[in-house]
């Protein structure tokens, strides 16, 4: 065993609370951090504090910004050791997954020093202001605008709205795409702006999903004043940054699905419990899903090994996003099919809590192939960027 692995193992042994060494039982146990952080247990708080102190919530970020400063192969070892003991993620965070990597790539020194350590420690919770009612798949059609205050050119004034903003009602800050140049082309007039959700003029209205949960909101901006120093990169560079961030988001969604699958009761165990393994068609569907999950997990590992030297996720993040989410939908569909009448309940009484959860999860899964760019958009990206299919002009 390498010295590093030994050191990690010993540290985890001493510092990971016993109750954090099992998969979360539902989203209620997730830790998102932020000013209004809620911890399911004292152990959950302790686990975050200890991991954050080592910078291991962001293992590969530089130490100067609070990260772990680990090399890619060390990060892999840490990941393997965390998996080995079934450790929970200490922190779920759009800051860690999406904003951090692009601040490291495009942010100013001040922006990194200001925001990254707070992300590592889970002190600030971020939300993503991309989509608008008129700009979904065609994201670059967005109309929320930011103009310089004529009397103070160190301030942008933001007006417009965003929609489908996940957790906007619980987030502290937003990274937001805004149009700063109405005369430039569609893609070149966009900038990437950071602001506090407590700023005057920001308001949020939750939207309910078919699963009954309200994980996202419509977000309105009415003359919101944002310091010019909060613009990432250059004015007009927003689209480049937005796309870089999306790659991280997609790779993440694929990985999250993979982890979620690993945490679920195996399909065959569930099928046995509901006594449907005798149905050859259902049994074959179960096996097909299991085999595809196996091949998909192997593919994530293969991409990780291939990308290790490259550092950045490539266009294969689209493949992962597409396949991972479609597979997850299929598995959730299969679960309610296995449960039969037990898989169509909405509320107690008459159904067990886990059966009701099954139904909610099935409904929630339909959003997987829409959020983060729809499956059709991923297919477009694969066809054009990876396979070189196009109109022949490019």
């Amino acid at each position: 065993m390498s010295d590093f692995r030994g050191e990690v193992r010993a540290w985890l042994e001493a510092n990971c609370p016993a109750s954090m060494r099992s998969p979360c039982r539902g989203e209620a146990e997730w830790v998102w951090g932020g000013r209004r952080a809620r911890f399911f247990s004292d152990d959950a708080r302790l686990w975050l504090e200890r991991m954050a102190a080592r910078g291991w919530t962001a293992p590969t970020w530089p130490r100067q910004y609070g990260g772990g400063g680990l090399a890619p192969d060390e990060a892999t070892i840490l990941d393997e050791e965390l998996r080995r003991i079934d450790a929970r993620a200490p922190l779920k965070s759009f800051g860690l997954w999406m904003l951090g990597p692009v601040l490291l790539e495009f942010g100013s020194e001040e922006q990194r020093a200001e925001h990254l350590p707070k992300i590592v420690r889970g002190e600030i919770r971020w939300c993503q202001g991309y989509s608008e009612t008129g700009a979904g798949s065609d994201l670059a059609a967005l109309e929320t605008r930011a103009v310089r205050d004529p009397s103070d050119d160190r301030t942008w004034i933001v007006d417009g709205h965003k929609i489908w903003t996940s957790h906007a009602d619980k987030a502290d800050w937003m990274f937001c795409l805004v149009r700063t140049d109405a005369s430039a082309t569609k893609h070149e007039g966009i900038s990437f702006l950071l602001f506090d959700m407590q700023s005057p003029g920001v308001s949020v209205v939750p939207i309910r999903l078919i699963s009954g949960a309200s994980p996202f909101c419509q977000t309105f901006f009415d003359g919101v004043r944002v310091p010019a120093a909060n613009l990432v990169g250059r004015p007009g560079q927003g689209w480049t940054i937005a796309k870089a961030l999306l790659k991280h988001e997609r790779a993440l969604i694929a990985q999250a699905r993979d982890t979620a699958t690993a945490e679920e009761e195996p399909l065959e165990a569930m099928a046995r419990r509901y006594d449907v393994l005798g149905d050859p068609l259902l049994r074959d569907r179960v096996t097909q899903a299991n085999l595809d999950s196996l091949c998909f997990t192997l593919t994530l590992r293969r991409s990780a090994e291939t990308a290790q030297s490259r550092g950045q996720p490539g266009p294969e993040s689209s493949m992962q996003k597409l396949y991972g989410t479609e597979l997850n939908k299929r598995r959730k569909e299969l679960r309610v099919a296995i449960a039969g009448y037990r898989g169509i309940g909405w509320e107690e009484p008459g159904f067990a809590p886990e059966e009701l959860q099954l139904v909610r999860d099935w409904l929630r899964s339909r959003a997987n192939s829409i959020e983060g760019g729809t499956s059709e958009i991923q297919l477009n990206i694969i066809a054009r960027r990876v396979l070189g299919l196009g109109d022949g002009r490019s």
Partner: protein, 368 residues
């Protein structure tokens, strides 16, 4: 980094690619077919490839092999799959694996060196019905003085028409047993049959063939070992064929123009091509994992054999169907190679069990 090819493997791939393009291109399959060649492959080519080490890639050097593993074998046969090379590497692999897994020192001495040199061909004779099965064979092995008498029929014996010896499965009471049978054995009938992919397989009739106790290799465990390894290696070949066909189809999508634009600019085709790309990526991952698992001597080899072959069968078939359709009229002509891949997809899907068979076996191995 099990998934990334190391330098040796990269070099092997380049050599194999160059060799197959020169010595075993798709054109050769066509020529053999059109000449109604009764061997079905180039004997000179096979000896040449054997000289490069392919007839005994996985055989230790002291027996005349190359002493490499399945990961290396996979790299090479992927290239053979790209050109639909008809060389008898798979039958040869089954012969050598049976000898390595179950033979006595004397049997290995007797056969391995010649097999590795490509001058002697040994293949497995196992299937009996219309599809692959691992149930107890119907062919019987009845004990007699000093040995056994074999009676039964074997079908789809790969390269059986030119094999010098067979590893024949039979039932000895209620257990499976494997025996080495020479092609010239008395009571053995060999009938060549042509398969749709222009390769040859034989039907064997064993009408009281006598074998000695020393010709017995092993039982069901050995048979599983040989079949699992052959299944994984075949999946690697299928991956190669699939990738080649996909690349050819992409080229067509980029170059064929209709309505004034390349047909690859139509979203209906783009999305299907992108789907196919994902399926092939998953195939590549599972094939590699299975090959590496054999080399590491892991216990999940049987499960990975099922996983790899189930996906290889489905993905190759899907790719072949899409390739034909996306080529339009020319896609259904004999002139274009696409049809040859299409036929090969069907044959390979059936060998060692099709996708539903593999899924069923996977489920059983997983205990459900």
């Amino acid at each position: 980094m099990a998934f990334v090819l190391d330098d040796v493997e990269e070099a092997m791939r380049d050599t194999a690619r160059k060799w197959t393009r020169e010595h075993a291109p798709v054109m050769q399959l066509r020529a053999l077919r059109d000449a109604r060649d009764t061997v079905g492959f180039s004997r000179a080519g096979w000896r040449e490839l054997a000289r490069l080490g392919l007839a005994g890639v996985t055989v230790p050097e002291r027996w005349g092999g190359a002493g490499l593993g399945f990961a290396a074998l996979g790299v090479v046969v992927e290239e053979l799959g790209r050109t639909l090379a008809t060389l008898p590497w798979l039958s040869s692999l089954m012969g050598t694996e049976a000898l390595l897994g179950g033979a006595s020192e004397a049997q290995r001495q007797a056969h391995l060196a010649a097999v590795c040199a490509g001058v002697r061909l040994m293949t497995l004779a196992h299937d009996e019905g219309h599809r692959h099965s691992r149930a107890l064979p119907s062919t019987t092995a009845t004990r007699s003085a000093g040995g056994f008498v074999l009676r039964g029929t074997k079908v789809m014996v790969l390269d059986g028409h030119v094999a010098d010896a067979f590893v024949v499965s039979a039932r000895d009471g209620e257990v499976t047993a494997l025996f080495v049978v020479a092609a010239g054995a008395r009571g053995l009938g060999i009938e060549r049959s042509q398969v749709v992919d222009s390769r040859n397989a034989a039907r064997l009739t064993l009408d009281g063939v006598t074998v000695r106790e020393a010709d017995r290799l092993g039982g069901a465990e050995l048979l599983d070992r040989v079949l699992d390894r052959a299944t994984i290696a075949l999946s690697a070949e299928m991956l190669g064929s699939t990738v080649e066909l996909f690349e050819r189809t992409l080229l067509h999508l980029r170059t064929r123009r209709q309505f004034g634009v390349p047909i690859g600019s139509f979203q209906a085709l783009q999305h299907r091509a992108a789907q196919l790309f994902c399926e092939i990526e998953l195939l590549r991952s599972v094939v590699r994992e299975a090959l590496v698992a054999v080399d590491e001597g892991r216990s999940d080899v049987p499960r990975l054999a099922c996983a790899a072959k189930a996906r290889a069968s489905d993905t190759f078939a899907l790719c072949a169907a899409e390739a034909v359709q996306m080529h339009g009229g020319i896609g259904v002509t004999d002139e274009l190679d696409v049809g040859l891949f299409f036929k090969r997809a069907r044959v390979t899907a059936m060998l060692f069990g099709d996708a539903p068979y593999q899924r069923d076996r996977f489920a059983r191995l997983e205990g459900y």
